[in-house]
Assembly symmetry: C4
Homo-oligomer: 126 residues x 4
């Protein structure tokens, strides 16, 4: 450790926060998450921009991932400068001042049994 790992630009083309949930909150609330990992010794200052199908992008949303920490950032919890709309297709661009690693996941609990998806995000070249 002590070295950086990852990239500074990441993209997640899939985005959809289901507007309904079943099961106890917050663990089983339908949510989308960007898992951010910073294995380095410097804090990562991250900006997230949200893209839509029919309007200009929103953001940047600012998140700090401290040195040698992970942040599992729910898109549901992004509110500044505006909430991420539910039941709406979106995509995200994640930019950091130091290398990080990004993974996307979703818990969909619209029905009685939950469904999960995940993927490592697309890493830009640097």
């Amino acid at each position: 450790m002590g070295e950086h790992l990852g990239r500074r630009r990441w993209a997640i083309p899939e985005g959809w926060i289901p507007g309904a949930s079943t099961g106890p909150a917050p663990a089983l609330t339908s949510h989308e998450t960007a898992c951010l990992l910073n294995v380095g010794d410097a804090d990562a200052h991250v900006e997230i921009t949200i893209f839509f199908e029919d309007r200009d992008p929103a953001g940047p949303y600012r998140v700090t991932v401290p040195a040698r920490r992970t942040v599992h950032q729910r898109f549901n919890d992004l509110t500044d400068p505006e909430p991420v709309p539910r039941d709406t297709a979106y995509a995200s661009l994640i930019e950091s001042d130091v290398p990080i690693v990004v993974q996307h996941s979703r818990l969909d609990s619209r029905q009685a049994e939950n469904a999960l998806l995940t993927t490592v995000a697309f890493a830009g070249d640097e």
Copy 2:
């Protein structure tokens, strides 16, 4: 922003549109989606070619992803030059005139409870 991110050639070897669904349409209709993200300032003109196990490829299907927009293109909705058959194994090649990022996802609602999968597509070298 204002810069490009991504690649111009992408592939998704997995493809299968379940022929049956449960739950309210269109949100819970079984579907396959190519999520396309264009963070650049120029529109992306995209051609999708569909490959099969036992016949020649179909397409190209043409999709435009405007500058700074995402398009979540359901394969279910591709009809020109021909619909994508249900309950049939296929794969897709996605080619764009400017760099984009591509993620594949599926909602399978054949049974009472839905199932989800996703992955960032394979990015060709450029």
Copy 3:
């Protein structure tokens, strides 16, 4: 088209064929699949080697992906030189004489409602 896309060496560390299924066969039989895409003009001759936790590897299993075709190869259907055991952890190495693209997926129907997973496989450097 007419050009190659992909790599010649791929790996899928996750492998597990559930030994039980519910729902109509073959669509809802629990299965693991390697989705192979060959967008090129030459047939791909593919060899799959299966790795285990506690014994020497099995294979090679031989699969041909014709030019401009996809093959969704269920590991369940590999029988020569030996079947892939159920309820057993395995991994796979996929080697082709021309570039292909590989995606891994599983349908688990051990319970009443199916579950799905997928990822683009790891592409070796060339």
Copy 4:
């Protein structure tokens, strides 16, 4: 075979071991797994470091992947130097002395029907 495939540094930003399960153990116990594949002729000595949101990292946890073997290592089973906490967000860094390939998966059986996710981990440059 006989050659190496993969990388020596891998990251999995998503990590969450559900604290509850339904269905017969151990197959349907909620679990997170790092699937490690070593196609080479030398044993891989692997160190896993676990990162958290609000405390210093734990580890290293040591795992050996013998030559030409796979190990599907459940994070649930890591106990030395300390267990991985349940219902807690974490991330992992996986470092090996020889190239390996890493895939992340989870079975979530908190509800009656299980849910699955997987992705090839992020491979560091070398």
